[in-house]
Symmetry: C2
């Protein structure tokens, strides 16, 4: 029986160790910005995106060295988006990952800049080369940068957050909500899987099916998030719950009720498992992660 | 006699035409964010960074196609930094380039996201490849992405902006001010020149000397900005003047007086011209731009 908990802890350790070493203060000028970046980046978190990236690379036969930078960059982009989303002008949240949000622990200006810095650092990391890199690998890196930038950009995550804010108090229909959820969360999760598959030297077929897997679990993740915002325990989650309702946000539970939302999430996970059919038991971590995504308590 | 005005207008047109075509609204979800991005990006501006990038590429024998994406990405990064710097939590400016700043024309949340989106789009653009690209060029692209990300990041522009805010009311010494000015403005101007030289297929020697030129004019630009904040005409500049003094900022004029600041800027320009010694009259645009940087009225 595959032990997901042990697997996640091990992979999270790898990611955390790498993240620890990336941001280094080199001059007194950088003291405050580095503290703020580290405050949010090293605040725990599930590390889902980097773990997915590492796991996928392993499954297609790649090694850690090929993808660890990309994995870290994905966590940086995720963290930047949380810092900016939490700002008073946006969701105005005080707690995140069980700690004060960046603008509470520091101030608004610092939080805006810390988010900017993490986003920028992600691309610095993604463009890193070393002497061993092959021309083929340079092309792959450019392809992955393009995919991640596009997922994080105004047609992806940013369109999602913008629409999320604009649609407070408005009633979205199912199709609009799906588009919103995919943009807000799904695309970066899909890009994480894509990065692992491409940089891990997967075949075109492998890349295609893994990306499909990523697309399903990306949406499932956001549906599960909606459900946790209704049923979750704020102690375990490290942030407030019930906020979607207070803000009058359209969510899966608000549109179809909690029970049907759970069934929809189950369906998405089943679809994601189907996409993994061509892979043998080496893909067991991905199957376990898919189930974990809708069973998690935070 | 080289006609800089005509040259700048022509190059600005090239840049503006390219920028016009880059950001396209593809779904209703993107309507507001695209409007905000375009509001700030298409607000005029000198286009100094992209023009430098194009000029340098031309001088080393490169063609426009090789660098136009990079040139546009530099303007996007510059514009993102202006949008975020103008926010109420930072410099709290209402006017920029003769128009309302982004958070005034839209709102704070939209301005934060529009900045994020321009920064992210810059990297999407930088990573674009086409079928004609050679392996050698792929490496160069990665190198340029790394250089630009590092210039824009927490050791460069962001450290500069953070320190700029923190040091209001504090007295910096000359060395601290120089470091601050290089980080705030100099590094991205240097990176613009570097990008043009590398992507335009310059030789290592050419890249080295052009980068040195970029370093000198980068600092000269910020010194000239300090002087304009004392002596400039707000009508011509399209933004408020005298703000450094009100905010008690350390600047070159506040530390050494306006006259000595002008001499220092002249010295930097002279040094930048020396760095161009190996280039013949093809480099005339760069020489004219160096002088323009300290003679400009906005």
């Amino acid at each position: 029986m595959f032990d997901l908990k042990k697997y996640l802890i091990e992979k999270q350790k790898t990611v955390n160790r790498a993240l620890e070493n990336i941001i280094r203060q080199e001059s007194p000028l950088e003291q405050r910005i580095v503290s703020a970046m580290r405050h949010s980046l090293m605040a725990g978190g599930k590390r889902l995106r980097p773990v997915l990236c590492l796991s996928v690379a392993e499954i297609v036969g790649g090694n850690e060295d090929q993808v660890l930078d990309a994995a870290c960059s994905l966590e940086m982009i995720h963290t930047y988006s949380l810092i900016h989303d939490d700002l008073p002008a946006m969701d105005d949240d005080d707690m995140r990952r069980g700690k004060q949000t960046c603008h509470i622990a520091f101030d608004e200006a610092t939080a805006i800049l810390a988010g900017d810095a993490l986003l920028t650092m992600a691309f610095e990391l993604l463009s890193k080369t070393n002497n061993l890199i092959s021309p083929d690998y340079a092309f792959k890196k450019l392809d992955v940068i393009r995919k991640i930038a596009s997922a994080a950009g105004y047609t992806g995550m940013i369109a999602g957050q913008m629409t999320d804010i604009l649609s407070e108090g408005e009633n979205l229909d199912m199709e609009e909500l799906k588009i919103l959820h995919i943009a807000k969360t799904g695309v970066l999760i899909e890009a994480s899987v894509y990065a692992g598959a491409v940089l891990g030297d997967g075949t075109p077929d492998e890349i295609k099916m893994l990306t499909e897997y990523g697309r399903y679990i990306g949406l499932a993740f956001q549906v599960a998030d909606d459900i946790l915002n209704v049923e979750g325990d704020p102690e375990i989650m490290g942030k407030a719950v019930g906020t979607d309702r207070t803000r009058n946000k359209s969510t899966y539970p608000s549109l179809m009720g909690v029970q049907k939302s759970k069934q929809f999430a189950e369906k998405l996970v089943a679809d994601s498992l189907n996409a993994l059919e061509m892979f043998d038991k080496k893909a067991e971590p991905l199957r376990a992660i898919a189930r974990y995504i809708i069973e998690r308590k935070k």
